[in-house]
């Protein structure tokens, strides 16, 4: 045991088995990074194909049926393979234990099991794709279409069901880790805000995902046996499926975006060399968002025949989610104010996040307003809005986090020049793609059709060209990380002068994270504070 304390986790053991059967949270985190980034590229290829089809009205490169399958796969892969597992699975796994001074997560075996559940779920989906016909239900699997659909819906849905359990067990593991494995002196208010954010996320994963599980199980039984819960012919109700589905899938939006906010809360104080403004407000707003997110699912169903009263209440509660989000935005901005800001690649991505997530959040309020939603529902405005939140929020923050912690995870520096270039291409490409879609949506172009009226041609072309820029940036980002992993310059232990615990560990960390269990005496962002 004595020697293991001093060598890093890459060298602690060797061979492919030492990775596939590892119980080390850092290695499992690295496996999640590879898996989710590959998923991102696969989902991205589907997106690019969808955009190329929309370059011109009419059939461009594929039939309507193929188009429907592709946007279904794009949605399902991006949501279930990439966004939901990415930040908690990858960066959460790697950094949550280190940030609270623990040697590992509470249940390392369960952690590995979660990873393989994700892989198993993916294989179910692959089976559905290979044997076909590929489902064209959209990633939401709305009934009654998903029941009557001739596609391989059951293997697709069961794959998602299994991935849901992966997500539940990851969340469960993190909650117990935060409660039970904080090192001496690590009080709740000394925890980094990333840990608070992951904690809030975990609560959502544990509480909401089982409801998706039972919903998808019922959908499967319905398809197999026609039990009628969602079938009006037998006395059931398809809107009940929507209620169940969004009872999970709206909190799931926060499963996606809360950890992203956690990453931004780490990068901004470090890169500004300044104490975070309003630590407790940010910490509590994470829990506040987790709570409110359970109460707003009905805003997905304003046009599904809900009562006026329900619509009104859900609309009001939807507005309320803006409050904790805005608290965070103001606090991040106030942290940057008069800080010594270094515009490194992660900071550029974090600043980009403030801009794009700002637009994503504000258009969310637009859609939460009942009268406007009646108009914008099922148009490209909705598509643009959730891409601003999912991609302009979660994906951009994931890239920020990957660059920020890359030196710590690998012991190597990424290429700063290519990193900055990738940011600008991404930022310009992203806004080009989706601002165009806002315009299309306002002009009334409906979503989920492979064809459109000629009047929408120009903005669709702008959007498609933008998607090529995003594709280029994605290759630059993944290529930069991949090449730097092998050829990057050696990274110091604390390249950004960070104050939280992970920066006090070696780069890369040793097997049990710290040679000796650390004792914490100060908060995570105490710049310019002198300790006696």
């Amino acid at each position: 045991m004595a020697h293991a304390a001093n060598i890093n986790f890459y060298q602690a053991s060797h061979g492919w088995k030492s990775w596939l059967f590892t119980l080390d949270h850092k290695r499992i985190g690295m496996m999640y990074i590879v898996t989710t980034l590959l998923s991102f590229l696969i989902g991205g290829i589907f997106a690019l194909l969808v955009r190329i089809e929309l370059f011109s009205p009419g059939e461009t490169i594929m039939s309507a049926a193929t188009y429907n399958k592709l946007f279904t796969l794009h949605g399902a892969v991006m949501v279930f393979w990439f966004i939901i597992p990415s930040i908690p699975g990858a960066l959460g796994n790697f950094f949550l234990p280190i940030m609270i001074g623990a040697k590992d997560v509470a249940f390392p075996r369960l952690n590995l099991f979660s990873y393989y559940l994700l892989i198993t779920g993916m294989l179910f989906n692959v089976y559905s794709i290979v044997t076909g016909p590929i489902p064209d239900t959209g990633w939401t699997f709305y009934t009654p279409y998903s029941i009557q659909n001739s596609g391989a819906v059951i293997s697709m849905v069961m794959g998602v069901f299994i991935m849901g359990f992966s997500s539940i067990l990851t969340g469960l593991n993190f909650i117990v880790t935060v409660h039970k494995l904080r090192c001496p002196g690590m009080t709740w208010y000394r925890m980094p805000l990333f840990v608070w954010a992951i904690y809030g996320t975990s609560i959502l994963q544990v509480m909401a995902t089982p409801v998706l599980g039972i919903t998808l199980l019922l959908l499967t039984i319905e398809r197999y046996a026609g039990i009628g819960f969602f079938d009006p012919k037998l006395g059931g109700d398809p809107v009940l499926f929507q209620h169940f589905f969004w009872f999970y899938s709206h909190p799931a939006v926060y499963i996606m975006v809360l950890p992203a906010m956690g990453i931004i809360s780490e990068i901004i104080p470090t890169m500004s060399q300044k104490t975070i403004f309003g630590y407790r407000a940010i910490a509590y707003s994470s829990l506040g968002l987790a709570l409110v997110s359970f109460l707003v699912w009905g805003h997905h169903m304003f046009t599904s025949g809900q009562s006026e009263l329900a619509n009104f209440i859900f609309s009001l509660l939807t507005m309320a989610t803006a409050v904790p989000s805005a608290v965070k935005m103001y606090n991040w901005s106030a942290t940057i104010y008069k800080g010594s800001v270094s515009l490194t690649t992660p900071m550029l991505y974090a600043l980009g996040f403030l801009f794009t997530f700002g637009i994503g959040g504000l258009t969310g309020i637009t859609l939460g307003a009942l009268s406007i939603d009646m108009h914008f529902h099922d148009t490209y405005f909705v598509v643009a809005h959730f891409h601003y939140v999912m991609m302009g929020g979660t994906a951009i923050a994931l890239f920020a986090g990957l660059f920020y912690w890359f030196p710590k995870m690998t012991g190597k520096m990424y290429n700063e020049c290519i990193g900055k270039l990738s940011f600008w291409i991404f930022f310009v490409g992203f806004n080009t793609t989706f601002i165009a879609q806002f315009v299309l949506g306002v002009n009334g172009m409906p979503r989920r059709y492979f064809d459109y009226l000629p009047m929408y041609t120009n903005w669709n072309r702008v959007s498609t060209v933008g998607s090529w820029l995003i594709g280029t940036a994605a290759l630059l980002i993944v290529g930069n990380l991949f090449m730097s992993f092998f050829r990057g310059a050696k990274a110091p232990a604390n390249p950004w002068n960070g104050k939280s615990l992970e920066w006090q560990a070696e780069s890369p960390p040793v097997l049990e994270n710290f040679a000796h269990t650390p004792t914490v005496t100060a908060g995570p962002y105490e710049y310019g504070v002198k300790h006696g």
Binding site: A106, F107, I175, T215, G228, E512
Partner: protein, 213 residues
């Protein structure tokens, strides 16, 4: 010193008690997910019971109240013996603890055997839901929907009973091997917690399905 100590708890915990506390919190969180999972079904039941009160009232008479009540008692007894198994191992009484586990296991078997007879009777009367529903005796419209709930809810519950039996067999095997004592009995307690939630869910299923008023 630390080497000899490391054997009875995982390396990232400070002590057996520390590991036990973490495991217990994890188990409770898992029980929350179970409640959310069944919660979806209970909400669905509530909605359709509200929509079709007459149908639910008529259809529920097809269920055998005596068998349901008997099974409720069986599960309550099994919860008691499970709790006793934990109490005995906490007092280092492996022999009695093992006996209690056996009784718990037998109660679970009894429950499933009774369930088998109930299911057979329903299938015989053509009450399997969905495509398989052939019963023509029931007057109310959509009566099949009640049996959809009956079979899905009790079916998923029955699956939990089966998993519980596997877990009880597993801790019995480990207890036989000498894994547990008054100092270390985490797995026994966690399986016990799981068994209580299986019991508790049935306590709700029984009146909702068998005693509709």
């Amino acid at each position: 010193m630390s080497e000899s100590h490391a054997a009875d708890h995982a390396h990232h915990f400070e002590s057996v008690e520390h590991e036990f506390d973490a495991g217990k919190l994890g188990m409770w969180l898992f029980l929350v997910t179970e409640i959310m999972l069944f919660g979806g079904l209970f909400v669905g039941y509530g909605i359709f019971n509200y929509l079709y009160p007459e149908m639910f009232r008529e259809a529920h008479h097809e269920l055998n109240k005596v068998m349901g009540a008997f099974n409720t008692i069986v599960l309550l007894v099994s919860s008691l013996t499970m709790a006793l198994a934990i109490a005995f191992i906490q007092r280092n009484d492996v022999k009695k603890s093992k006996l209690m586990l056996i009784i718990t296991f037998l109660c679970a078997c009894t429950f499933l055997v009774v369930k088998y007879f109930e299911y057979s009777a329903k299938i015989h009367h053509g009450l399997l839901p969905g495509h398989f529903f052939t019963n023509t005796d029931l007057q109310s419209a959509n009566a099949a929907l009640f049996f959809s709930f009956y079979f899905v809810m009790t079916g998923i519950h029955g699956l939990h009973v089966l998993i519980g039996m596997a877990c009880i067999a597993w801790i019995y095997w480990r207890m036989n091997r000498g894994d547990f004592n008054a100092h270390k009995f985490g797995a026994v307690e966690f399986v016990g917690l799981y068994w209580h939630i299986v019991d508790l869910i049935w306590i709700f299923l029984f009146p909702l399905l068998y005693l509709v008023v």
